[in-house]
């Protein structure tokens, strides 16, 4: 196949991102809906990437300066996307985050409007003028016993981010984007400029304008934002915010992995499940310094090929186009012993396991999570043996959705993967259900590690409150 490049490929995330460059927003929305429906874009990360890219485009094409209309537009798109595949909760999360961004830009400018004098002063927040309470940001985890060493560098990095921001866009108040984004950004800064020290230790809470009690005020503000603020480029600010969100998606795995050494100790036996990039990077980060043993449950039949691939080559599938999926060394190359076991052996081996690390599909507001099927069984077994269960997840997977009806969140997959479709008699006479996901209740999880650090499950509601506006929770 000399002309391999022109061979028609099955549509997917790559083709979507490619077409997004040339196609206008509306057809792109339909395209993404089709891809979601056909499950050609599936699982959290690709969904999140596609949604952010699409919303960037939607905002970019938005005409006019009316914030209320922009909010409406994003919301409409969001509803369509969520309806297309309600079980990819991440899509809804991203839409809510972007909505939050718009509202934030509006809030900022309203604040600066009422305090015109303050506007040019970068870094000085008009704290008193707004009815905003100082929000307990996720840096509360500094005080949490669960949080270990990250607290210090995180603080020091803030200054560098703030100064950078103010120098760059002096007109703009330092934190236009959502507070996690800036956190993500700052942590990124931590790794890129570790030598830049900072004297001031600004409490993060002051910087985060995640006004939760603003609901009513917000609506009015959205309405008269247009009149009062002619000089503010709403679109550009929101776009910047979305780009920061994209950075967050990109970096969340690294940020999570940075916590690895605190959780994985030498000579431990770690049990994990499914071929998850986040978990894999987490383990690899630990493997650089320490020697430990990994027991990998294979997740047959839904994810076993990817699991094998992950264990052997570091790639999920051999035939995936390499452009989208970054490659890394497998754990075995880093000198880690990896045992792949069938899921049914999990209970038997659990007594010897020191820690269970789970990947997740979605984390819910109550601290429960939806993960690849088999996770519930592993978590239960871990509970039985008092083994700590650590869940690794980017904040973008954290959803404000409360699991009132668990059945709604569970997707049932191809029954043919459980029973071969060739077996005619079986297919005809036996009903087979193949759930793709499991719901793991909060009490089975001991710790969440996100790109913000570690959190107890009972604490997640705070992070939810920090990231999503209450008015956006129902799309």
């Amino acid at each position: 196949m000399a002309q391999g490049a022109t061979v028609v490929t099955t549509p997917g995330l790559t083709s979507f991102l490619k077409s997004l460059k040339t196609t206008p927003a509306d057809p792109s929305v339909d395209y993404l809906i089709a891809l979601l429906k056909r499950r050609q874009i599936r699982s959290s990360r690709p969904c999140a990437i596609a949604t952010t890219a699409l919303l960037l485009r939607v905002v970019g094409e938005f005409k006019g300066r009316d914030a209320a209309k922009l909010v409406q537009r994003i919301r409409d798109v969001g509803r369509l996307l969520v309806a297309a595949q309600p079980r990819e909760v991440v899509v809804g999360n991203i839409v809510r985050r972007v909505l939050g961004l718009v509202r934030e830009v509006v809030d900022e400018n309203m604040d600066s409007d009422t305090n015109v004098t303050n506007e040019t002063e970068a870094g000085s927040q008009p704290e008193a003028s707004s009815p905003r309470r100082p929000v307990l940001s996720s840096s509360i985890s500094t005080f949490s016993p669960l949080h270990y060493a990250v607290a210090e560098p995180m603080h020091s990095s803030f200054q560098s981010e703030a100064t950078f921001d103010s120098a760059d866009l002096s007109r703009r108040p330092p934190l236009t984007a959502s507070h996690t984004t800036s956190l993500g950004h700052s942590l990124f800064g931590l790794f890129s400029h570790p030598e830049t020290p900072s004297a001031s230790n600004t409490p993060t809470g002051q910087q985060s304008p995640t006004g939760k009690g603003l609901t009513t005020l917000n609506l009015e503000r959205l309405a008269d934002f247009n009149k009062s603020n002619v000089n503010v480029d709403l679109k550009a600010e929101v776009q910047d915010g979305i780009k920061e969100l994209q950075d967050e998606l990109e970096q969340s795995d690294e940020l999570i992995a940075a916590n690895a050494l605190e959780h994985i100790h030498a000579n431990e036996i770690i049990l994990t499940h499914t071929a998850s990039t986040s978990v894999q990077k987490f383990l690899l980060a630990a493997a650089r310094k320490r020697k430990f043993t990994v027991v990998h449950a294979e997740t047959h039949p839904l994810d076993h090929t990817a699991t094998y691939g992950m264990a052997l080559t570091g790639k999920k599938r051999e035939h995936t186009p390499s452009d989208e999926e970054e490659t890394w060394k497998p754990l075995i190359a880093a000198g880690i012993e990896v045992y792949v076991i069938p899921d049914s052996h999990v209970f038997a081996i659990m007594s010897r396991v020191n820690k269970v690390i789970l990947a997740t599909h979605t984390v819910l507001a109550n601290g429960g999570l939806v993960a690849a099927s088999g996770a519930a069984m592993i978590a239960k077994a871990a509970k039985e043996h008092q083994t700590p269960v650590v869940v690794v997840s980017g904040v973008y997977k954290l959803s404000p959705v409360y699991p009132f009806d668990i059945a709604d969140l569970i997707e049932y997959g191809d029954a043919g993967s459980v029973v071969p479709y060739d077996d005619g008699d079986f297919v005809d006479k036996v009903d087979v259900e193949a759930p793709l996901f499991d719901y793991v209740p909060a009490d089975l999880v001991d710790l969440y590690i996100t790109n913000l650090g570690g959190h107890a499950p009972s604490f997640l509601y705070r992070i939810v409150a920090d990231h999503y506006r209450t008015e956006d929770i129902t799309l």
Binding site: T6, D26, P27, A83, A84, G416, D422
Partner: protein, 710 residues
């Protein structure tokens, strides 16, 4: 035994788009497979718009093609084109966001797949490789690797013209075709399809005749365990082949079978791509409709499930036990919805009703204490209190009054009303529409037949007058008799080393029903060759005619062929007629008049004809009548057949191959005026008969007069 000395018309055809790999991937959807598998429903709606789990069939096909990354689609319509066109123009596929850059509906008057393919060839729309599917394919298969395999073969060998996508499916599978069983003989090392046979699944037909040449392959597999899902990846050469063989009608039975058989003649190879995972099936008949519906509901076709909501306005949600409900379904508190059921929007279900394993459309009204089991109820149907419906199809707007019973297998078409307390038994197909004889598209509303639908009912029993004589049994929703419908076979992979042994072994321990492979066994050998005679002989004569061989040589070859296969005289005549007519038509196409074409062909090969007719001396001209009948039948479905028949008859009389008595006897034969086509084709020949009747009095002027009568 195809003739040596190959002259290959196909190979000389310019291969358009051969080098242009940048061409978008194209696809052709045949919405109408030109069979009447869904009557009486297809009287009123095109088959591709019939709802499968409340979504029109063609949606699944489009979805499959979009999934495969196809960009240009040509939808080939037969009946009900307007409806298809309207539907497509309103669907998301023709909107701006459609994944297809081109979507065209082509109308044709084609009556077989063959006609459609030849028509496509003349339109020359297809430039590169294309995917040929039917409008009833349901599949979640990514075509990527099949296409890649096809292209790779293609770059190596230009003669690899087609790749068939087949799904492996064990021995007994609900989704496999009943009726006939397609058998593929495959060379697994090169994925080449060597032989194809359709085996009627009837009693006593557990044998398959194979050409012993097949055994020269290192390894062959004889497979009956595949679902032929009708997905073919073709090159434009395929269309050219269809065009060259204008007698091909069915894509498998004719095209595939013959092209494989003629491998030595035209050198084209056809390959298979057998998949072991993913879902692929065709809704080819009601039985398949039933099983594919079940597959979709049980999520074997995932992500093609009801809760994927393929249509934009759908809002299905999945619940435990594969129950799917759209928003706005009204269920009475005491009704029971059992697993594997899908219910559409705004349908209401009354108290005490039990529904299991069924699909119910939108806006249906289902009364109290109704039992529905395994039924397919389409939109706007209403089912009265106390009815029982089992394994049947109830179409849009049909009404069952109170306390009706619909037994398994019954089909109730659009708008039919069944009176109170009536029982409809399994074999009934009730409709309100009648097809006008003159025009297939026009519909009449027929009189209600009270004895069938009960008092106050509307509709009558459907009789398909035009039901084509197909080898395939029209499959009902319910298999007629479970004992008949299944037969387990053994599949054997024959190795060249073990040939004799395995043959022997098979012949010895062949437990009648269990093995259909009988390579080289005595009994099948003869019959196989007799069957092959027709084909081989006509192909060989045609070839010789084309190349202008002498009749003596043709005669020699024919005799040899006849001797070796023990063919009857009738078969010899038939092959002669077939090939002659083919040649004549070809000559006419290349701009010679009917008369000169006939003169040329018949004139040159007088001997050949004489040698096939042996009843000159007898009073009863059986052979001559037979010859004429064959000629007439063959010409009856050709263009300008009537003119050719007239010229041919004249010429034959002129050459004294057919005597006047022969002509007269033929003319009076009952079979010669049997059916409309036969009558139409011989209309023009009336003048010859009239003339012969006259001239029998003045015989001496015969010859000159005859020429004048042209």
């Amino acid at each position: 035994m195809p003739p040596k000395g190959k002259k290959n018309a196909v190979a000389e055809k310019p291969k358009a788009g051969e080098e242009e790999r940048d061409e978008p991937l194209q696809a052709v959807i045949l919405t109408d497979p030109f069979e009447t598998r869904f009557s009486p429903f297809t009287l009123e709606q095109p088959r591709c718009l019939l709802p499968l789990v409340n979504t029109p069939l063609i949606e699944y096909t489009f979805e499959f093609l979009a999934n495969a990354g196809v960009q240009e689609i040509f939808v080939y319509c037969g009946a009900h084109r307007e409806q298809v066109e309207v539907y497509i123009s309103r669907s998301k596929w023709s909107s701006r966001s459609s994944p297809f850059s081109r979507l065209e509906v082509i109308q044709s008057t084609a009556r077989t797949v063959g006609d459609a393919m030849r028509d496509l060839d003349t339109r020359s729309l297809l430039v590169g490789d294309f995917v040929l599917v039917y409008g009833d394919v349901v599949s979640n298969l990514p075509l990527e690797s099949a296409l890649a395999a096809h292209r790779e073969r293609r770059t190596k060998d230009k003669n690899a013209i087609m790749t068939l996508v087949l799904r492996e499916a064990g021995q007994n599978h609900r989704t496999k075709a009943r009726g006939t069983k397609p058998i593929f003989v495959v060379d697994p090392s090169r994925d080449r399809c060597l032989h194809f046979e359709q085996m009627p699944n009837r009693e006593g037909s557990h044998f398959l005749s194979l050409d012993p040449d097949l055994l020269s392959h290192e390894e062959i597999e004889i497979r009956s365990d595949v679902i032929d899902c009708g997905i073919d990846i073709c090159t434009p050469d395929v269309l050219a082949l269809w065009s060259d063989n204008f007698d091909f009608q069915a894509p498998r039975k004719d095209f595939l079978h013959t092209v494989l058989k003629d491998y030595e003649l035209n050198g084209k190879t056809i390959h298979t791509y057998i998949v072991e995972d993913h879902y692929a099936a065709r809704v080819r008949n009601l039985h398949a409709y039933d099983s594919v519906s079940k597959d979709i509901i049980s999520r074997y076709a995932y992500p093609l499930c009801p809760d994927t909501n393929l249509l934009q306005d759908q809002s299905y949600q999945a619940y435990r036990g594969n129950i799917y409900k759209e928003q706005g379904v009204i269920l009475a508190r005491s009704c029971v919805i059992k697993p594997k059921t899908a219910i559409g929007r705004a349908t209401s279900v009354g108290d005490g009703t039990v529904i299991s394993r069924s699909v119910i459309g939108r806006h249906c009204q289902i009364g109290r204490d109704v039992t529905i089991e395994g039924a397919y109820i389409w939109d706007y149907a209403s089912i009265g209190d106390g009815c029982t419906v089992k394994q049947s199809v109830i179409a849009n707007e049909a009404t069952l009054r109170k306390n009706c019973t619909v037994e398994a297998g019954a089909l109730i078409s659009y708008g039919v009303i069944i009176g109170e307390g009536k029982t409809i038994s399994g074999q009934h197909r009730i409709t309100r529409a009648k097809r006008k004889r003159t025009d297939g598209e026009e519909l009449d509303k027929g009189e209600a037949d009270v004895s069938v639908v009960g008092p106050g009912g509307d509709g009558f029993e459907f009789h398909d007058s035009e039901e084509e004589e197909e080898e395939e049994i029209v499959d009902g929703l319910v298999p007629p008799d479970p004992n008949l419908s299944l037969s387990a076979q053994s599949i054997s992979t024959l190795n060249s080393e073990g040939d004799d042994d395995s043959d022997m072994a098979q012949n010895l321990n062949r437990p009648a029903a269990d093995s259909f492979v009988s390579v080289g066994s005595q009994d099948s050998y003869a019959s196989q060759h007799a069957a092959n005679f027709d084909h081989d002989a006509s192909a060989s004569i045609y070839d010789s005619l084309e190349k202008g061989h002498e009749s003596a040589n043709i005669q020699l070859e024919l005799t040899a062929l006849r001797m070796s296969t023990n063919a009857s005289d009738h078969q010899v005549r038939r092959s002669i007629v077939l090939s002659f007519v083919k040649r004549i038509v070809q000559l006419i196409k290349s701009d010679s008049s009917a008369k000169s074409a006939v003169d040329q062909v018949f004139g040159q090969h007088k001997e050949l004809l004489e040698r096939s007719i042996f009843d000159k001396t007898q009073a009863k001209k059986v052979d001559q009548v037979d010859f004429m009948l064959l000629l007439q039948t063959e010409l009856s479905h050709r263009e300008t057949g009537d003119i050719i028949l007239l010229s041919a008859a004249t010429k034959l009389v002129e050459l004294d191959i057919i005597e006047e008595d022969g002509i007269t006897q033929w003319w009076e034969d009952a079979k010669a005026s049997d059916g409309q086509e036969m009558k139409a084709v011989r209309e023009k020949t009336q003048q010859l008969i009239d003339f012969l009747n006259d001239s029998s009095e003045s015989e001496d002027e015969d010859d000159e007069e005859e020429e004048d009568s042209e």
